[in-house]
Symmetry: C2
Subunit: 143 residues, 2 copies
């Protein structure tokens, strides 16, 4: 069940990028993960697949994927960023994070998600009109 996602591969190639082994491995890892992984987490996981991959490649790949809108980067306030495949984790595409300030445990939740989506949509439209922003994403960690 590798993430050799042909759609992502195609998009990268169309944009003049290369779908390398390192990138495929990182997408695999993100696709299979049930957690919100830090760059370090991903680095150690990739190394089990391909021990020659370096830290810089992990960061550069995450940056590329984030810019492409395939990966979402989060800051939960502990000094290191976490990454998550958008629409990944076999869950609903839209969810939030509940972060325990004591133990840093993170719970994804989707309670009242429909009501929220409706409100968010209304808000985003209003903001786009009012401030000229095109909304690409939003985050609501509770911390």
């Amino acid at each position: 069940m590798r993430y050799g996602n042909p759609w992502i591969r195609q998009r990268m190639i169309e944009e003049g990028m290369r779908f390398t082994e390192a990138r495929r491995a990182i997408l695999d890892i993100l696709g299979k993960s049930l957690q919100h992984l830090s760059a370090e987490d991903i680095y150690f996981k990739v190394r089990r697949i391909n021990p020659s991959v370096g830290f810089a490649t992990v960061y550069r790949t995450l940056d590329v994927l984030t810019r492409m809108g395939i990966v979402q980067r989060f800051d939960f306030g502990d000094g290191k960023a976490r990454y998550e495949l958008i629409g990944g984790m076999g869950k609903e595409e839209h969810h939030h994070h509940l972060v325990c300030t004591g133990c840093r445990k993170i719970i994804d939740y989707t309670d009242f998600i429909d009501e929220e989506k409706e409100l968010i949509n209304k808000t985003e439209q209003a903001l786009a009109r009012k401030y000229g922003f095109y909304i690409t994403n939003h985050i609501t960690p509770v911390q």
Copy 2:
């Protein structure tokens, strides 16, 4: 209009802490600021008031104030944390941030805030019941 806020001072003393010059100066700065300041921003501003204050004190003070629930820490995704006095800036207590991914400009907004507050309250109550979390804060930057 210094922020020698007697209420905060009293709370600190009650909790066995000291309301030092550095802490008062940092509260002043946060209280007067219309922006979301980084530790570095605050450091340079404090230095204009009291040139002997060091970086470590700024970080330690922000940490204390954050733990006390007086200051809110944000990560907007550019690698450095920003700090904001809760209920400060002469604005409504509850607001959100619109962050431009291009230029990093931040706009505070409160559109649909009443509807949102209602939904948030309902959600928080449900989450608290369901997961046993006591909700202390939430953040919704659009990034």
